[in-house]
Symmetry: none
Subunit: 209 residues, 4 copies
DNA sequence: AATGAATGAGAATTCATTCAT
DNA sequence: AATGAATGAATTCTCATTCAT
């Protein structure tokens, strides 16, 4: 889970920091537009208003952009979760607790559109080189661990293995339903979200107090 | 849903029929090994022990291989579902009913390992050219419609729109959980499957008799 | 100028003769539609409602189709010229004589649309493999020799070399002007043809009685 | 007549400018040797001592090379015509006037051997994608317009439409005769050129003062 | 550091021609 | 003879990555 830093060199100067941020913004934009495979490093450099040479000054290869982008998402995701999922959340009734979690995730997804493919993408066993899926896995695991932590507070008597399983099932269920949510016209999305909550509530209620 | 036949020409000779099958087998194999994007038509031809020219005699391009493969899966899937999901299934208690459905899908997935990526792959809004996701969508919709049909028999009083939504939620939930199942070591898979069933049962019980 | 017969084998049976004719018709059609280079032998076979195998039964390669087609044109051209350019033509005033020649060539071109590219195409020195240009050259030479023959009757005192040069200049001039004629909207074509005649008349009058 | 610049990107570095020139030289050479259709981009890159990647860095496709080459010819042609066809030329007797024009064109053709195929090539109606013919058309039209302009000075009383037609007839006549000139052994070329002049003079004398 | 030109392996696809049936 | 499947060299073009300036 711990990974080498994807950067070729950490720039000391502020200008470099900005350039990295611009490159990541560009990568986010291009990945979101055409997908990781179809994205070209030249297009990313162009989108960032830099030269391809500069891109490779900071990132050793295309995958490093993805990794760094995932890292940035991870940091932002942690921030969001830190702010919305406090230990007090644990005290809420289960339905409200779920609302909190789904709300936090939902707003994050809403604000980081290109995060969605990363969050959704599934690992295909065998495709060892599916960088997107690997990066996605790590991001989801972060959410899983958060939820696991909250469940631990809320239902201390649960066995650790069970708790982790419940958390994973919840996250993967949400992941599975996200495309349906996307494909649904906005007017009918609340209904889908309601189903999502009902599903998770029905699943968790028997095991969580 | 029905699409133009992806074949360039339907071979009149038996030899050609076999070669098409061999090419599809090869495509299945290569797609499963490295994914659609990374798969090369040359690799597929080689895997099929044919020349690249023969491949293009029957398939106008790489996408056609995927489409044809999805078509073959669809036909086989229909067969499997026809055999395992009879109207009588409807009479079973909900838990057994779910066992049937999940069992059918599970055995199909088990026998067609490279079908899984297709079944799992999600559409990323915006990537209009994501052929895998598009093909996957059609395959899943077939399952959705089957389940919808069964639900109609089982709970005739349900509104059609609700029924379809329930079916979609179930299928996408399973889709979401499949990677978890894959990533779980075989010894612990029964537990995951049990959770899957519990999840779906808890979701459906309140709305299905 | 004499060339090997382009046919792989001269079919004894009438059926084969017909098939050859059909193939040449098809080649004419396809060459006219997309040009020699872009024409594919498969397209020609398809247009002829035959199999590619049959095509190669009669023609050893693509060039042979062109050669045979040129041969057929040559025969037809000779027929046309035989009928329209009789020795009596020689007796006419020069203007009427030119009318005859241009009329004969014009009607032939009108009836054999795909003959035009062949007639027009120029040899590019150096492109030794420009089959179209080579075939075209032979066709034009036939016309040159005819005109030369007529000039010999009409102006017996001319030196042979001069006569041939005059004939060649006339033919190449017409060849040069044909694209202009084609590009001119039909309503204005008579004007272009009139210029063509004026040009040739002004050229020949001083040297031909 | 003005067309989009065929270049993919205008190189900012001097090195790139040189490389473009080298690539165009190579294209000129290869086109001249085997013709546009048979020329391969790899051969052009090799001839230019560059990698195929560099070629595509500057030219998006093979046609762009032709277009750029035609553009270069056009610029050079304009220069040549500017220098040789001054308004004073108009004052000369018609025979000398023709000498000037043919001389200018002749020397240009002599110095740019691979320009000839471009200048000669005819549009075949229907072959919409005949890039060579299209490029050739533009080059010839430049000459036509130049001659038209000179005729306007020389014979101001001519109707514009007539003038343009005369100019076109002259250019296409020359175009038609060029292959004959090429095919003639050098020793006899002056004779052919003399005929060419006699032809044009006889054509123009009645209409131009 | 920054730029962007240079590289070339590798991808998809075509098509003339051969050959098994 | 007829059919059409099989072949594979050849072609155009891409793009991750390196390197000279």
């Amino acid at each position: 889970m711990a990974q080498e830093t994807p950067y070729r060199k950490l720039p000391q100067q502020a200008r470099g920091q900005q350039r990295i941020a611009r490159l990541l913004d560009a990568a986010e934009c291009v990945f979101a537009a055409v997908g990781y495979d179809a994205a070209t490093t030249n297009a990313i450099a162009a989108q960032a208003n830099t030269s391809i040479g500069s891109l490779y000054q900071f990132f050793p290869n295309k995958e490093a952009l993805l990794t760094a982008l995932a890292g940035r998402y991870l940091a932002e995701l942690r921030d969001t979760l830190d702010q919305t999922l406090t230990p007090e959340t644990t005290e809420l009734p289960l339905a409200d607790f779920l609302d909190c979690i789904l709300g936090a995730l939902g707003s994050f997804l809403g604000e980081h559109t290109s995060f969605r493919p990363l969050f959704i993408s599934a690992r295909h066993p065998g495709h060892t080189k599916d960088e997107v899926a690997n990066a996605a896995y790590e991001l989801r695991q972060e959410v899983v661990l958060r939820i696991d932590g909250l469940l631990a507070l809320r239902a201390p008597s649960l066995a650790e293995a069970d708790r982790l399983l419940y958390a994973q099932v919840c996250v993967d269920t949400v992941r599975g339903l996200l495309p349906l949510l996307q494909a649904t016209p906005p007017s009918r999305r609340p209904r889908v979200i309601a189903e999502m909550k009902r599903l998770l509530l029905a699943y968790l209620a028997p095991v969580i107090g």
